[in-house]
Symmetry: C2
Subunit: 140 residues, 2 copies
DNA sequence: GCTTGATCTAGAGTCGGCTCTAGCTCGTAG
DNA sequence: CTACGAGCTAGAGCCGACTCTAGATCAAGC
């Protein structure tokens, strides 16, 4: 493959990652990036494809609830290079577990909501007789 | 069924809902409860079973990402009584959609993490030859 | 030459959701 | 009678993750 990109500006990266330019600078300050972004003339950031790829990963991790400090930790390990694979795997497996748990929790909540919806729907169908409730119309 | 409970103190409710007493008072101030909690002698809160049931629902909604203002809105509708079933259903269906979307997003993220885990694991198994990466060892 | 728009830095502000503090009142146990 | 623990209110504080502001720089187009 040829050189895919000569480097992207912060604005372009914002577009393709969905992060704001503010967030991009913020992430860099926070050490979420594996390395500080290369600078072009005038001190402007020039993102490599690799940076963008990493940012996409970060977006995914954030979307699945990984806090920034954990992502920074991950980045630290990658930055330090070989010899940390075990640790990296540990982090990833932990997150995997957390995401799985989240999905379970959400599935459970979804169930409850779905039940509530069908009981309301039934009530409406049966003609609007009887009080609305289903849960707690008023305290005592 | 007989009167199951003569009313619970805030501490007891905290125990059974998993919310802190602070959070319970906070929720009440925020109008998340359908009605302000009954007060016993000395102005202390006395929670009915219904209150507790409602709080359990709130905990579930929060756990599935519903913001407090939305829960308050829901509570408002319940409080206002009959004639708002449609609106209530709209709220619930919307949340249902959001939770479903969340689950999809998480499932996707889980996939990515799982892939990353297997590729790291493979690398480790193949003997520690080659660089760690997988994504972005360093910028440019 | 001048304006426009994107970028830069440092640092302040915002928002949601609690959490904690201070200072007071109860009810019960010793 | 006093000490404790639980509760009360009003309001301040905190944390995470951004978001925004001010004031400066720079490249490109008119």
């Amino acid at each position: 493959m040829p050189e895919t990109n000569p480097g992207l500006s912060i604005g372009q990266v914002a577009e393709r990652t969905g992060l704001s330019v503010h967030a991009l600078r913020f992430y860099e300050r926070e050490g979420v990036l594996v390395a500080p972004v290369r600078r072009g003339p005038g001190g402007r950031r020039v993102y490599s494809d690799r940076d963008v790829e990493w940012l996409h990963l970060c977006v995914n991790l954030r979307a699945s609830g990984m806090p920034l400090p954990a992502i920074r930790q991950y980045a630290d390990l990658v930055r330090r290079g070989a010899g940390n694979e075990e640790h990296l795997l540990t982090l990833l497996r932990q997150h995997q577990g957390e995401v799985t748990a989240q999905i379970e929790q959400l599935t459970e909540s979804l169930d409850i909501v779905t039940h509530k919806i069908s009981s309301y729907t039934e009530q409406l169908a049966e003609g609007a007789t009887g009080p609305i409730m289903c849960t707690a119309p008023q305290s005592s």
